[in-house]
């Protein structure tokens, strides 16, 4: 494996080729907020909370650190005014389904009218069930703003015994729905 050198928040770090910025940052004790990430699962790159600013050869851009693979001489900034603004806006958009992040970013109200109160559609449950449990009992139904979490009724019986995705759930929907599906 090739070793790659890069700079994250002013700190020179080494990483293995193929690692993501998020992984390398965490190994080096540098914090990047995430929502849809879980170490047991393949990175999905969908919540965009982990956006960081990178520059290579002078060109700057914002990327999702959980899916961006490290490059030689990359300079990464994990925080800036612009990045904070994006993260706060995402939290506001998800209000009130992500209480922990809301607290972290000091968001105590939203300028938007929420349409979901229990689910932020992070997909952790779906991915856990597919990748770890290999059961596919929960899935995404619909496209665009109609997207929602749904159970496969034939498999939902299993959920009651498994409940493994419950502690991943950010919004609480899985916990509440599973009860109602069972009854």
């Amino acid at each position: 494996m090739k070793t790659i050198e890069l700079v994250i928040d002013g700190k020179k770090v080494q990483a293995e080729e193929g690692a993501t910025i998020l992984e390398v940052a965490r190994e080096n004790g540098i914090y990047i907020p995430t929502l849809c990430h879980d170490d047991q699962l393949q990175p999905a790159g969908t919540c965009r909370m982990c956006m960081v600013e990178i520059s290579n050869n002078g060109r700057k851009k914002l990327v999702a650190s959980c899916v961006y693979e490290v490059e030689e001489n990359l300079v990464v900034k994990t925080d800036s005014e612009k990045i904070r603004k994006i993260r706060r806006m995402i939290v506001e958009l998800l209000w009130p389904t992500v209480p922990a992040l809301a607290k972290e970013f000091g968001v105590d109200k939203s300028r938007f009218v929420p349409e979901h109160t229990e689910c932020c559609l992070c997909g952790l449950c779906v991915r856990y069930c597919a990748e770890v449990k290999k059961l596919n009992a929960v899935y995404f139904k619909g496209r665009g703003i109609d997207r929602e979490i749904a159970f496969v009724p034939e498999l939902a019986d299993e959920c009651v015994y498994c409940r493994e995705c419950f502690n991943l759930c950010v919004g609480g929907l899985i916990v509440n729905q599973c009860g109602s599906v069972y009854s």
């Binding site: 965009r48 665009g144 703003i145």
Partner: protein, 643 residues
């Protein structure tokens, strides 16, 4: 069919086809593009065959079905060669006349000729009609010359000679260099240089490699890719085979949306006949190069046209974009290097090979070379497909080619770039249409949709319409796009209903900027364009809706009332008969009045009120959309427009 084993065989075949054709012989071509077929061109074609037989003209006259000519608003189109006489809007009943008069007696059928809007002058030759005269039809011209089902027609006009040239006279490096030199940029949206993509794919030391034609064409109202595939599929195949040779691929895919049955059919026939001639398959033209093409039928979601989503779909997965930052030209279909280009981009390739990069570069602007096809629709006299050199101004397209706005209405804006493009107002009509100028103006080239809007268009409602489309067509996977669109739609809905709040405009702008920065794929990154561009150019309309609950264009239903002007009313009662909710009745003075409580603002009365009366007027009146509040008809009524 004989298998062609060398460029020489191809040339012999071409000569033999051409020698059997007399360029001075009369040839009647009937457009059989989807537009003209819908107007009955199939029956016209049959009628011609019968009539030609009946008048025993089979020996002197050829009859040919061709692809789309582009002037779809005026179909069915008939062009008679060699004079190139053009008849518009002909019906089955006109055929006998055309045959006896034009073909036998060499006289014109005046009623079917083009008449100029202003001067009333009749125009005979297709090339002299303004719609065509101001275009530069490099890609589309051949549509009118060939029967898309007949490979011989394509070969007769020099088809497949570009393949012979690259396989036998050029090496791969020359070929890639030529395409890079031509600076052909992708016609599907991004404008990425094709040659650079080819080089990247070619240089990845992984096999197999793939090439793909993107014919998903999900923009509502756009149909340039469909017309090319329907009308001249071999040209796209030839481009694809050349690209495959350049990057070192032996397997290609054409991703066609399922809603395009004719394109699917003609492409299938083209692949089969090319294979029979040895122009596809093993050992193409005896060169040792093998290449196969498979058609993939797409389910037709807008987002599936995005490159990585399309590849997921071809692999049999859900057609959603991939989050990875690695280019599909390096890791695409089944993680192999894959070169994906749009139909129109591929169709340009044989021309560049035949005529050279220098020729191609002589057309267009500094950084956008060649021509671009647009589908010109909306409030415009001449609707259809328009091919112009890059750098042509919007004004030339709208006024010279498009013939301006119908019904003496005023131009308001033109929307370019498909659903996630932007609108450009009157004072931007002189910008040259190319990739960079459009992006700079807050819109984009997209794949070439161009929708003209007149003064009766509400720009807030327009933005709302596109955002609603995108909100349902986004895959919904990433938060900025999904939640951003959800909230944009909510805000726009409330503004168009007259309950927008102060600060909504700024919030839309902030939201839009975040979506551009943070979305996962180009759908979310470009989705705010309709909102941001309408705010940029028509902020006053947003303000009128929010501050005064007024829709200046008189479109937003909750903000208008229909009213019958008693002085103009002819008492004909047409409106009463046509009102779907029976909201219109006579009052004691025998004048018709609209009961505002049951009126659903469908506008039926306005469209049936006789022109000489024009008695129906639209007035501002804010009606709270919630609860059972009665309409506030006592608001000082100002007339916005009448028929």
């Amino acid at each position: 069919m004989i298998k062609l084993n060398s460029p020489h065989d191809l040339e012999i075949l071409r000569e033999s086809i051409v020698s059997k054709r007399d360029p001075n012989r009369t040839c009647v071509t009937v457009c059989s593009g989807t537009g003209c077929l819908a107007y009955g061109s199939h029956d016209i074609f049959r009628e011609f065959r019968l009539e030609i037989e009946k008048q025993r003209l089979g020996e002197e006259v050829d009859l040919r079905r061709t692809g789309c000519h582009g002037f779809c608003g005026r179909g069915p189109l008939i062009v008679i060669f060699p004079e190139k006489i053009c008849y518009l809007g002909a019906q089955k009943e006109d055929v006998a006349d055309i045959v006896s008069k034009t073909i036998v007696d060499k006289e014109l059928v005046d009623r079917l000729l083009y008449k100029d809007f202003e001067t009333g002058e009749q125009i005979t030759r297709i090339d002299d009609i303004p719609f065509y005269k101001y275009q530069k039809r490099i890609l589309l011209d051949n549509n009118a010359l060939i029967d898309p089902e007949k490979i011989d027609d394509y070969i007769a006009i020099g088809g497949y000679s570009a393949i012979a040239k690259v396989l036998f006279e050029w090496n791969r490096d020359d070929l890639i260099k030529e395409i890079k030199e031509a600076n052909l940029r992708g016609r599907g949206g991004g404008g990425f240089p094709m040659g650079v993509k080819w080089e990247t794919t070619r240089n990845v030391p992984v096999d197999p490699k793939y090439v793909i034609v993107n014919a998903d064409e999900g923009d509502p109202g756009a149909y340039m890719d469909r017309s090319l595939l329907e009308g001249n599929p071999h040209c796209v195949l030839e481009g694809l085979i050349i690209g495959a040779y350049a990057v070192g691929s032996q397997e290609g895919f054409i991703y066609v949306r399922d809603e395009y049955p004719l394109a699917l059919e003609n492409t299938k026939i083209a692949i089969e006949t090319a294979r029979e001639y040895g122009l596809l398959g093993e050992n193409i033209l005896g060169s040792g190069f093998d290449f196969e093409i498979t058609i993939h039928r797409g389910a037709g979601a807008f987002v599936s046209g995005e490159s990585s989503a399309l590849m997921n779909a071809v692999e049999g997965r859900v057609g959603e974009p991939r989050p990875k930052y690695i280019h599909t030209s390096v890791k695409g279909l089944w993680d192999r290097p894959t070169c994906l280009n749009n139909v129109e981009t591929w169709a340009n390739v044989p021309f560049i090979v035949n005529k050279g990069a220098d020729w191609f570069k002589s057309i267009g602007t500094e950084n956008s070379k060649g021509t671009k096809i647009f589908s010109l629709v909306g409030k415009i006299n001449n609707t259809g497909l328009v091919e112009v050199p890059m750098g042509t101004t919007l004004r030339e397209i709208v006024y010279h080619i498009g013939g301006g706005i119908p019904n003496a209405k005023k131009f308001k804006a033109v929307q370019t770039g498909g659903p996630s493009g932007g609108v450009l107002p009157e004072d931007m009509l002189d910008i040259p249409v190319d990739f960079d100028a459009l992006t700079e103006a807050g819109s984009m080239m997209g794949s070439g949709g161009m929708i003209v809007m007149d003064e009766n268009t509400c720009m807030v409602d327009t933005a709302r319409y596109y955002i609603e489309f995108l909100a349902h067509e986004s895959c919904g996977k990433c938060i900025p796009c999904r939640e951003g669109l959800r909230q944009m739609l909510r805000i726009l809905n409330s503004i168009t209903r007259g309950v927008g709040k102060e600060g909504d405009i700024e919030l839309l702008e902030e939201l839009g900027e975040m979506m551009q920065e943070a979305s996962l794929c180009a759908l979310g990154k470009t989705a705010p364009n309709p909102v941001l561009s309408t705010i940029r150019h028509f902020r006053d309309e947003y303000e009128a809706h929010i501050n005064e609950a007024r829709c200046p264009a008189g479109v937003c239903k909750e903000l208008i009332i229909y009213h019958i002007n008693p002085e103009d009313c002819l008492r004909c009662g047409l409106c009463e008969k046509n009102c779907p909710t029976n909201a219109i009745s006579k009052d004691e003075d025998e004048v018709y009045v609209i009961n505002q409580e049951s009126c659903i603002k469908c506008g039926s009365c306005m469209s049936v009120c006789p022109e000489k009366a024009n008695a129906i007027v639209v007035e501002n009146a804010f009606r709270p959309p919630f609860a059972n509040d009665l309409p506030k008809t006592d608001v000082a009524a100002t007339t916005i427009y009448s028929t």
